[in-house]
Amino acid sequence: MSVIELKNINKYFGSGISKVHVLKDVNFAADRGQLILVVGPSGSGKSTFLTIAGGLQTPTSGSVEVEGQPVEKLTKGQRDKLRLNRVGFVLQSYNLVPYLKVKEQFAFVDKVKREGNLSKQDLDNLLKQLGISQLVDKFPGELSGGQTQRVAIARALYADPDIVLVDEPTAALDSEKVAEVGKLFKDLAESRNKAVVVVTHDLRLLDFADKTYEILDGKISLKDKEHVLDR
């Protein structure tokens, strides 16, 4: 069973003459241990897709299932819990609380979610894997862009989610760095058995994906990478 599945999702914004059909009959599934890429040009519906997959928005029709459980049946509080426990978000900006040291970012998760977080040992290993062990006593303002992103990834993984949703992780990175990030997400998916879903317009990530979807004008389709590159 897929850890997350979107079935016949449609999403409309607005009404009447300004009504737009942003997602059209979207079907999608992600499995543990895989890095899944969702690529598409600007305005194609990637962010809308990501927020619906993460339970932040409700689709106009269709169903999102996390481990077989339909998200639309959950209350607001239960959806908060779902995001806290099962979904990790890695966003482009504002990921970290500016006045918490790196180690306190994790301590704060402990305050809100008392169990099921990584053990001290696991966290140390994760920080080592990400190459940020030496940063624990720094504030976010003292980190470089790449370091911030790695800490954000650690923060997302700390609650030990099944699904990691990543938004445009390689905006404004040179190709060398893109490869590093791609490899990192692939490694994390494999070594930690997570479903990592990355939405991006950056085709340089294609090489690292186990599975690639393409969104065009709200329609999603599974592609092999040659096909996407063909375009």
């Binding site: 908060d80 806290l84 990790g88 504002y94 609380v97 006045y99 938004d167």
Partner: protein
């Protein structure tokens, strides 16, 4: 609480500034309140010490003690019991060579009635003849001693201070207690058929049975003391305004901070942190700001109180100051309401690349 404290510790300058604002406001409120109570006390101390519930004045006196007279006939008809006492009041200026002049309230009363009978002295004895007076301790702090002979107004006669009493102030002037004959003399009506200025009674429902006299409750009488109500209203206004200013300051401050931090709150919401946890963050920050401001303000006010010269009328009324502190805390909670509402309704979608 975790986020609240961490943020304050990280942004020391910001929060330090806002706390110092709260300190100043709290300090000002405490000082003003204490002054208000101090002044109110100096208006009414003597009256309170009599423990009387009502006062009978001439109907045409405009509820002014010094404008009222009660004739001998009226006093006779009034059927005074042990709960009533006749007093005569007139403003005087006490002088003694080489000492500061003191504006005082002379109160003449009868030895046999409760005003004098229940009068508690801190030293000396009560007046035994028409040339002896008992005065408030304010005289003592101004350098007067037992045995000093003072003149009153422009009369040549000397009056000897034979006793001191505490907390005897009427309308901000220290009281000098003497005999009824002395009062009549000072009023310039030694032979008039006048009994006194007023009858005070411990009975709230006391009735003097005379169409020219009227009974007023002590509270009503106090509220009509010259300047008393105006003073209290002014202080009340100032304190109320300071409360509102503190509310506005804290609300604006928290609002600006919250608006700046909104994307962070949105991410935290996206990560599944319950809105409740974030709302409690801003509320506890507001409470921490207010509490530290109030505590420091109170310490400063206490320090000021201990450094001020005795003459400044300050009364630290702890229950009232406690209520004011609670009021300030409530202002803090109200001030956090709008920012809290912003946080509770922040849309996590807004931070996901649109």
């Amino acid at each position: 609480m975790y986020l609240a404290l961490k943020e304050i510790r990280h942004e020391k300058l910001r929060y330090g500034l806002i706390i110092s604002m709260v300190v100043l406001i709290a300090y000002l409120i405490f000082i003003l309140t204490s002054l208000a109570f101090g002044l109110a006390g100096e208006n009414t101390q003597a009256i309170n010490s009599w423990d009387a519930k009502s006062i009978v004045l001439n109907k045409d006196s405009n509820i002014s003690l010094t404008q009222s007279t009660i004739t001998n006939d009226q006093a006779k008809d009034a059927k005074l019991s042990s709960k009533e006492a006749v007093i005569g009041s007139t403003p005087v200026v006490a002088k003694h060579k080489g000492k500061e002049k003191i504006s005082a309230s002379f109160i003449g009363a009868r030895k046999s009635q409760f005003i004098i009978k229940d009068l508690k002295l801190t030293s000396g004895h009560k007046a035994r003849n028409n040339h002896q007076i008992v005065v408030d301790e304010k005289f003592k702090t101004d350098g007067y001693k037992l045995g000093d002979k003072v003149t009153l107004n422009s009369f040549k006669d000397k009056y000897q201070i034979v006793g001191f009493t505490k907390n005897a102030k009427l309308n901000v002037a220290p009281v000098a207690y003497g005999t009824m004959a002395t009062w009549k003399y000072l009023r310039g009506i030694p032979n008039a058929p006048v009994s006194g200025s007023a009858i005070v009674s411990k009975n709230a429902k006391y009735n003097a049975h005379d169409s020219h006299l009227k009974t007023y409750s002590m509270n009503k009488f106090i509220s009509k003391l010259p300047g008393y109500s105006a003073e209290n209203t002014t202080f009340g206004f100032m304190i109320g305004f300071l409360m509102i200013i503190s509310l506005v300051i804290i609300a604006v401050f928290l609002y600006i901070l919250t608006m700046q931090a909104l994307p962070t709150y949105a991410v935290l919401r996206a990560q599944g942190i319950p809105a409740r946890a974030l709302v409690s963050t801003i509320t506890s920050q507001s409470l921490i700001l207010m509490a530290s401001g109030v505590v420091i303000g109170a310490l400063l006010a206490a320090l000021t109180g201990s450094l001020l010269p005795v003459g400044v009328p300050m009364a630290f009324n702890i229950p009232v100051l406690t209520w004011i502190s609670i009021g300030l805390m409530i202002m803090g909670v109200i001030g956090a309401a709008i920012p809290a509402q912003k946080i509770a309704t922040v849309d996590p979608v807004s931070v996901i690349g649109g």
